[in-house]
Amino acid sequence: MEFMDYFNTFIRSIFIENMIFAYFLGMCSYLAVSKNVKTAVGLGAAVIFVLTLTAPLNWLIKSAFLNEGSLEWISASLADVDLSFLSYIMYIAVIASAVQLVEMVVEKVSPALYGALGIFLPLIAVNCSILGGSLFMAQREYNLGETVAFSLGSGIGWFLAIVAIAAIREKIKYSDVPKPLRGLGITFIITGLMGIAFMSFSGIKL
C-alpha cells in the first residue's frame, strides 16, 4: 500500500494542509499577482515547478550531506560531522538557482507572461511556501517518495488558491467595495473566507 501512502500525502497537501489556507505561506505573491487569472496561472505553474524541483533536490542534499553522519560515504573519518546548521543556506541556494532557471525559460518561451509577472518571478526565490516546502520535508522526516508527493501537492494547492482568488477578484472588479477596503483589504478578507471554506477538509483522516 506504499502507493496509497504517497497518494494520501499528495491529496492532504492540496486540500487539508493547503499552503495558503492552512499555513498562510507564500502570501505576498499570492496577494500581489492575483489580479487576473492568466498571470495567476503562470505564477502558479512556476511555483508548482520550483516547489516540485527544489524539495526533492533538497531532500537529496539533506540526506547526502547535511544530516548528522551522512558524510560517511565520502570517508569514514567524516562519520561524526553534522552539517545540519547549513541547511537553511543550502535550501535557499537550491531554490534561488531553480528560480533562475525558471526565469530564463519563461523569458524565452513567453515574454508576455514574463512582463506580467515582473518582479514576482525572481521573488519566488523568497516565496515562503517554497522554503516552507523544504523545511516541512525536513521537519516531518519524509522519504523521497513522500517528498515528491508532498511538494507536488503543495504546489498544486498553492496554484488552486491563487487561481481561485484571481477569478474572484476579476468577478468583484466592478463591485462597490467600501473605499478603505479596495485592493488588498478586500483580498485579505476574501482569503479569510476562502480559508473557512477550505476548513471543510481539516480533520479528514487519510
Binding site: V37, V163, A164, A167, I168, E170, K171, I172, S175, D176, V177, P178, L181, I186, I189, I190, L193, M194, I196, A197, F198, M199, S200, F201, S202, G203, I204, K205
Partner: protein, 456 residues
C-alpha cells in the same frame, strides 16, 4: 366578492398612507433620513409606477423583490414543517413518559418518592406542568390533592396532538426568524442610509434561510452575532446584495459552526430539555456511529422528516414542494438541484463500493446512496442554497459542473470527515469559492470556440 372588496379597500388605504408619508421624507424635509426605509417598504407593497425613459423596453413583471419573495414562499412549507417538527421532537419522548406516569398513578404502582421524582423531572421540561405545580404550591396543596390538581397537565402532555406540537414549535422557531430578520434588515437599512442607496432586497431570502439552517436550540444572541457577521463581512463589504462571493446564510451558519461548535453540532443540541433515556442524535450522527443498522428511522421517516435536525432541513418532502415552486417559477436552477443530487449519488455509490470491500471497518461507507439524499441537509442545501444565483456559477454549463462537484464533495466530507458530519454546508461554500473560476474557463472556452468558428 367580499374578499375582493376588502382587498381593494386595504390596498387603497395603504396607498393613501404611502402617498401621505411621501412628502414628509422628500429631500430637505426633517424625515429625509428615513427615505430609503420608506422606499423599501413602498416598493415591497406596490409595483413602482415609474417606467424607463430610454429606448429599451424589455420589462418583466418580476423584479428582484418579487424574485426574493417567491423564494421565501417556497421556503414556507419547510418553515411550517420545521415548527411542527420542533414540537414533535419535544413531545415525542415525553408523551411516552407522561403515559407511563398516568398508568402508574392509576395503578398506584410507584412509591411516593419515585412518583414525585418523575413528576418533577417531567415538570422541568414542560412549562404547563411546571406552572400547575407552582400554582398548587402557592395554594399549599399536598399529597392526593396536589396530584389531582396537576393531573390535567400531565394528561395534557400525554394527549399532545398536532396543534400542541405546532404551537410549541412555533413559539420556539418564530423568535429565531424575527431575530434574524431584525438584525439583518437593521444592518441593511443602516448601510443603505449611509450610502444613500435604496434598500437592497437581498436579505429577504437570507433572513429566512438563516433560521431554517439553525438547530431549534440555538441561543438567540448567537443568531444575532452570526447574522451580523454574515451580512457585514459576507456581503456589505463586497458592496451589498448581488456582490457577495459566499452564500450569506451559510456564512452565518459556518460562523457559528467554527466559533461555537458545541451549539450547532454534537448529538445533544437538537432537542433541548431531554428527559432520561431519550436520544437526540441526528440521523447523520447515528449513521456515523453504526451505519444503516444504527439509524432509528426508516428511509421513509427521513423522507417525511419527523427526525431531529436543523429547523428546515429535515423534511425532504417539503423541500421537494419548495423545489417545485422554484422550478415552476423559473427562479431556482433545476440544473443545479439535479446535478447536486447526481453528484451525491455518484459519490455515494463509489463509497458503497469501497465500503463493500473486505477489511473496511467504517460502516458509514456502506450506507446506501439513496439514504444520503434524505439525511442531513443535502436536499435543503441543493434546493435553496446551491441555487443562490449570486454565488453559483453563472454559465449554464458551469451550473452542471458546479452542482455535481457540490454533491460529490458533500458526501465525501460527510462520510470521511469525522469532524464535520454536515458536508453540504462546507461543500457549497467551497464551490462558491471556485464558481468564478469555473465560469472563467467556460467563458474562455466559449470565446475560443466561437473564434475558431468565425475564422471558419
Amino acid at each position: 366578492m367580499l374578499a375582493d372588496r376588502l382587498k381593494e379597500k386595504v390596498s387603497k388605504a395603504l396607498l393613501d398612507l404611502a402617498e401621505n408619508i411621501k412628502p414628509k421624507v422628500a429631500k430637505g424635509k426633517p424625515f429625509h433620513f428615513l427615505h430609503s426605509f420608506y422606499d423599501g417598504n413602498y416598493t415591497l407593497m406596490f409595483q413602482p409606477g415609474t417606467t424607463t425613459k430610454g429606448k429599451v423596453h424589455l420589462r418583466d413583471g418580476i423584479d428582484s423583490k418579487r424574485t426574493m419573495f417567491t423564494v421565501v414562499i417556497a421556503m414556507i412549507p419547510c418553515l411550517l414543517f420545521g415548527m411542527w417538527n420542533a414540537g414533535h421532537q419535544h413531545f415525542a419522548p415525553i408523551i411516552e413518559i407522561a403515559e407511563r406516569l398516568i398508568s402508574a398513578i392509576s395503578l398506584d404502582s410507584l412509591s411516593q418518592e419515585v412518583l414525585w421524582a418523575k413528576i418533577n423531572a417531567l415538570a422541568a421540561v414542560d412549562g404547563g406542568l411546571a406552572d400547575a405545580m407552582y400554582e398548587a404550591g402557592r395554594r399549599n396543596l399536598e399529597g392526593p390533592e396536589l396530584l389531582s390538581y396537576i393531573m390535567p397537565s400531565i394528561e395534557n402532555i400525554a394527549d399532545a396532538g398536532f396543534f400542541s406540537k405546532f404551537i410549541y414549535g412555533a413559539i420556539r422557531v418564530l423568535p429565531i426568524v424575527v431575530v434574524s430578520y431584525v438584525t439583518g434588515l437593521g444592518i441593511e437599512f443602516a448601510v443603505a442610509q449611509m450610502k444613500g442607496h435604496p434598500i437592497a432586497e437581498g436579505f429577504l431570502v437570507s433572513g429566512m434561510l438563516i433560521p431554517l439552517i439553525m438547530p431549534v436550540t440555538i441561543p438567540l444572541w448567537m443568531v444575532v452575532v452570526a447574522t451580523a457577521f454574515a451580512v457585514i463581512i459576507g456581503k456589505e463589504i463586497f458592496g451589498g446584495t448581488g456582490m457577495n462571493i459566499l452564500n450569506v446564510a451559510l456564512t452565518a451558519r459556518v460562523f457559528i459552526f467554527f466559533a461555537y461548535p458545541t451549539s450547532i453540532s454534537g448529538d445533544k443540541v437538537w432537542i433541548q430539555d431531554l428527559v432520561d433515556g431519550a436520544s437526540g442524535a441526528t440521523a447523520l450522527a447515528q449513521a456515523f456511529e453504526g451505519g444503516v443498522a444504527g439509524l432509528s428511522w426508516s428511509w421513509f421517516d427521513m423522507f417525511i422528516g419527523s427526525i431531529p435536525g436543523s429547523i428546515g432541513e429535515t423534511s425532504t418532502l417539503m423541500i421537494l414542494i419548495g423545489a417545485a415552486i422554484l422550478i415552476a417559477t423559473g427562479i431556482g436552477s433545476w440544473k443545479i438541484m439535479l446535478s447536486v443530487m447526481l453528484g451525491a449519488g455518484v459519490m455515494g455509490i463509489l463509497l458503497n463500493i469501497v465500503g463493500g470491500m473486505e477489511g473496511v471497518e467504517n460502516q458509514f461507507l456502506a450506507v446506501p446512496f439513496y439514504y444520503h439524499w434524505v439525511m442531513g441537509g443535502l436536499a435543503f442545501g441543493a434546493v435553496y442554497m446551491a441555487t443562490d444565483p449570486v454565488t453559483a456559477s453563472q454559465t449554464e454549463k458551469g451550473k452542471w459542473i458546479y452542482g455535481f462537484l457540490i454533491g460529490f464533495f458533500a458526501i465525501l466530507v460527510r462520510v470521511l470527515n469525522p469532524a464535520y458530519p454536515e458536508g453540504i454546508m462546507l461543500a457549497i461554500l467551497f464551490f462558491n469559492v471556485f464558481a468564478p473560476l469555473i465560469d472563467h474557463y467556460i467563458v474562455e472556452a466559449n470565446i475560443k470556440r466561437r473564434l475558431a468558428y468565425a475564422k471558419g
